[in-house]
Amino acid sequence: MRTLLFLLRKEFKQIFRNKSLLPMIFAMPLIQLVVMPLAADYEIKNINISIVDHDRSPYSQQLISKITASGYFVLADFGDSFDAAFQQIEEEKSDLILEIPAGFERNLVRDKREKLFIAVNAINGTKANLGGAYLNQIIQNYNAEVRLEWINPARFNTIPQVEVASSNWFNPFMNYRFFMVPGILAFLVTMVAAYMSALNIVKEKEVGTIEQINVTPIKKYQFILGKLIPFWIIGVVIFSIGLFFVSRILYGIVPIGSVFLLYGFLAIYLVALLGLGLLISTYSDTQQQAMSVAFFIMMIFLLMSGLFTPIDSMPEWAQIVAYSNPLTYFIEVMRMVMLKGSGFLDIARHLLVMIGFAIFFNTWAVLNYHKST
């Protein structure tokens, strides 16, 4: 026990003395937590639109002013040649073309129907999708207004119509930050825990200090615990700063569920991740190797965790990868507990899976650690 305490003291001394490591551990994740949610905005604004109006009628004017007044679109070009508008797309000045045919108003009034043409630049898929969808919505609204104007209200009501009204549960205003901040916090804690523990142990190998340590009567479990406990504590501290300062004070996100439950899950999650860090370190001889492997794993963790893209829309093989990723479970638990107020029973499955990960990574790491020395 005395040896372990002394090991911990030495470890903390080294961490706090390292002038480049300390800001990495504390400042970097917090800066990212402040900056990343602001950038990871799903709402797309400022879509550039080129409108080709062959009609130039009051009706087409009305439609155009409705589009530009929506706030989503910026009128990049207005003319009467599709080729000129297409040129705008090629020059990346415009993302969408709306072509209003000649006789738009006349046909609408006389034939009660008319077709519009929308061309979308699909290079930026998200922007194209959303832009097309917004534009469709605006045109539909416009259509409804026109119908109101022309059709006798009594008759109008007799036409059966389905209207969908949706309400957003758990996040009524669809504030994407409520959704992103807990996820990003989960990822940052992951990164610090896995990277730091892996690098720290490899550093002992690289510098050669492990040689000197290995000829002392110190037990393996003491050495490993002496390495993992400091980063477990640091992980908890970073999580707390992120949860109470950044997400609560800056973003106003108050967890609906139990904070203790979050910490309970975090405690096990960190054990699993530190085990992964230890595992990486047993396979590496230099910090450079450990860094490269950790980076590779972190990229997969980040992109296949459901943080940015829903797992349900991934292909089946990717779903398997996503569910073999501990970060997936932590992000889910964070969102469930913070936004939905899920209780212990709701996350019991996640908890079990995480205990499994913790046992798996740590056993593998300790077995391999024995072999390598």
């Binding site: 200090t209 040689e211 009567p217």
Partner: protein
């Protein structure tokens, strides 16, 4: 106190034979030197004796404990100073010493008398980080850390490599005093001139022991009289010497070339000098010398 019997170690799945059937014994309280060039297998032997490597074959024991089965006990009893500085560079001198004392379940005060003489030299810098010390200071600190738990056997792997001549001399004086305290010391070095400072030495080359004895006995066993010769044109001289029929071996050695004759005849010296003069060498100088360990090493290597 330390015994090795047919110890072997291979790397890369047997492709590289680092240590080949090595056997020797180090007596209690002895200052034993393992002398050999880089890559001779010295560090591998040390790592096996300090339980950091498991031998592929043979048996070795330290203080009567087998290095494979008794590794836990051995680690409590031996001190090891690796060839590469292996203390925490970001901890201070004092912190390093306290740290290693704690790992051995002891305190600096308890064994201060043993390290006092060495420690007083680095004490003025005790709040300095180990990484910021000079080479000689680092080496003294490493020795202190290896001694802090009062080991009965001390393993020093190339302790004087990269250390200046004055510090090297000091270091060997320190080793002698530690030996006087009854500590068995096993030291390795690539410097042949340090061999005579040991009580007994083993000359090692390519993973094999070539000779084990006291330095004096090894020198005495040199098979034939050794001569040193020099002239104004040393490189031509070496070529010419090698062409001479009566010369058995010749090699460059500092400002002289050392040579031995095939037959031990009294007129050897004079006839060789005459031959060399005929070949146009001037300022010729030749004398019989006592061989050094390096001469012995070269002689053993050529076998």
């Amino acid at each position: 106190m330390v015994t090795l019997q047919n110890i072997s170690k291979t790397y890369n799945k047997g492709a590289i034979k680092a240590v080949d059937q090595v056997s020797f014994k180090v007596k209690k309280g002895e200052l034993f030197g393992l002398i050999g060039p880089d890559g001779a297998g010295k560090t591998s032997i040390f790592r096996m004796l300090t339980t950091l490597l498991i031998p592929d074959g043979g048996v070795a024991s330290v203080n009567g404990l087998d290095v494979v089965t008794g590794y836990k006990e051995i680690r409590k009893q031996v001190g090891y100073m690796p060839g590469k500085f292996s203390l925490y560079q970001d901890l201070t001198v004092e912190e390093n010493l306290n740290f290693f004392a704690t790992l051995f379940n002891t305190t600096v005060q308890e064994n201060y008398d043993l390290i006092k003489e060495i420690y007083v030299q680095i004490e003025p810098f005790k709040t300095r980080r180990a990484g910021k010390l000079s080479g000689g200071m680092k080496q003294k600190l490493a020795l202190c850390c290896a001694l802090i738990h009062r080991p009965t056997v001390l393993f020093l792997d190339e302790p004087t490599t990269g250390v200046d001549t004055v510090s090297r001399k000091e270091f060997w004086d320190m080793l002698k005093r530690l030996k006087d305290q009854g500590i068995t010391i096993l030291v390795s070095t690539p410097y042949m001139d340090e061999a005579t400072l040991c009580e007994r030495i083993a000359l090692i080359q390519g993973g094999k022991i070539m000779s084990i004895d006291t330095p004096e006995a090894i020198i005495k066993s040199y098979p034939s009289p050794l001569f040193a010769v020099k002239s104004s044109k040393m490189s031509v001289l070496l070529e010419d010497l090698r062409k001479q029929d009566q010369v058995k071996s010749s090699f460059a050695f500092g400002e002289f070339h050392h040579l031995t004759f095939k037959e031990n005849l009294p007129e050897n010296q004079q006839s060789l000098l005459n031959d060399l003069e005929k070949l146009g060498h001037t300022c010729l100088e030749m004398k019989e010398i006592t061989p050094t360990i390096e001469d012995c090493f070269i002689q053993l290597m050529s076998h």
